[in-house]
Symmetry: C2
Subunit: 210 residues, 2 copies
DNA sequence: ATATTTACTGAACGTTGTTCGGTAATTGAT
DNA sequence: ATCAATTACCGAACAACGTTCAGTAAATAT
């Protein structure tokens, strides 16, 4: 189909300009400073025109979050390939925390409210949806390699997926608390590495079945 | 001093009514539905009068959070004393997640924005501040018992405090992701217990010094 | 009983998200 | 090239928001 007519291309460009200026406003002045009028001002349109491209403000925030997920995925992969999967897994976690602290506005927007998740398709099982989420898959593959190398034991009830989920939960807790309750406290990546090593050690042997 | 004159008592009662109605509005219609005007309506005052008791809306939200911290602390202790500190520690974590899912609005309000933490005194070290936070202390004592019983090994760099912090981060990640990304997915407390057991196993032996 | 402090309100200001009627520009068909 | 139909855009407005302030009613202190 002609998804590249002049019109659709202009349309896409303006949509892009909208979320780009939104990202900049958020980055420089925080989420609370973001308003339709500020965006309209930044891209030389009237406030009403914004609604030709996005149905409402939440849709714009959702689009910003989508960008955030992509950036997070890239950040998780931004570590040189390592022979030892244990180190690779751990450093992936460090990257997660690093991303959160480097982009606090992005991160809090993505993971603070209950309605900011990508393609929340309630038809499908949550597991399948996560497995199609690129960011989660980066973690998943690290855990898979960990298991392959014999550093991590799986059971029928608690497989690669569950371990990957647990890893995500661990680093997410570190990141989230660092941004909220522990903000402006010292952030020691040496200690975070020790925490992640301890987490890994917990899965080094069979998870007790219940 | 006379902190119980008729005036101060009335004052306290009205302040209490304000945050009580705020809690109810949040609970029934979500944080986004909370407004000064709605509160004023609920307690039969004019919007302007609210400002005689709280300087602004954020102060009201902060007061709501304070209540939340107290409720969380109570929830963490709401598990019968157990002989085995390993079980006690794990069930404390389960209670944390339970609280989050039972009070999603409270929890997200408390731990979503960067400015909702209690008495953020930047003079003092973060460690000392946490050690005076009742909720954290519940976790801290569990870890202390765990160490006392020999189920958990401490090192100079990574002591009871760090382990307790790690425990908090772990359950916080579970809770937070369950409320946001994993919301409306199934929540299996059996699997959460297995996760917390694995976490505990990671600290069962010496944390490798770096 | 009077002076003074406190409690409370109505009305307003500036800002927000969003809608709508109307106009200018662009497109598709002849 | 011309004309009708669609699309893009805007000004103005609406309702709701947080907050302020001048002014009135009530409670307190003298």
């Amino acid at each position: 189909m002609d998804n590249t007519t002049p019109r659709t291309r202009r349309n896409a460009r303006i949509r892009q300009a909208i979320i780009k200026s939104a990202v900049e406003i958020i980055h420089h002045e925080g989420v609370s400073a973001l308003s339709i009028r500020r965006i309209a001002d930044a891209i030389d349109y009237s406030p009403a025109s914004i609604y030709e491209y996005y149905p409402n403000k939440d849709a714009i925030l959702a689009a910003v979050c989508l960008e955030g997920y992509a950036k997070l995925t890239a950040a998780l992969q931004d570590y040189p390939a390592t022979a030892d999967p244990r180190v690779a897994t751990r450093e992936c976690g460090v990257q997660y925390v690093r991303f959160a602290l480097a982009n606090p506005d992005y991160f809090l927007l993505m993971f603070s409210s209950a309605g900011m998740q990508p393609n929340h398709n309630s038809e499908e099982s949550l597991e399948l949806q996560l497995l199609r989420s690129p960011a989660f898959m980066v973690i998943y593959r690290h855990i898979h390699a960990l298991v392959e190398a014999g550093f991590c034991v799986v059971t029928p009830r608690y497989g690669v997926f569950q371990i990957a989920l647990s890893a995500w939960q661990m680093v997410h807790g570190i990141a989230m608390l660092s941004l909220t309750t522990l903000r402006d406290g010292p952030l020691d990546y040496t200690i975070i590495r020790m925490t992640l090593d301890a987490w890994q050690r917990g899965f080094a042997h069979t998870v007790a079945e219940r």
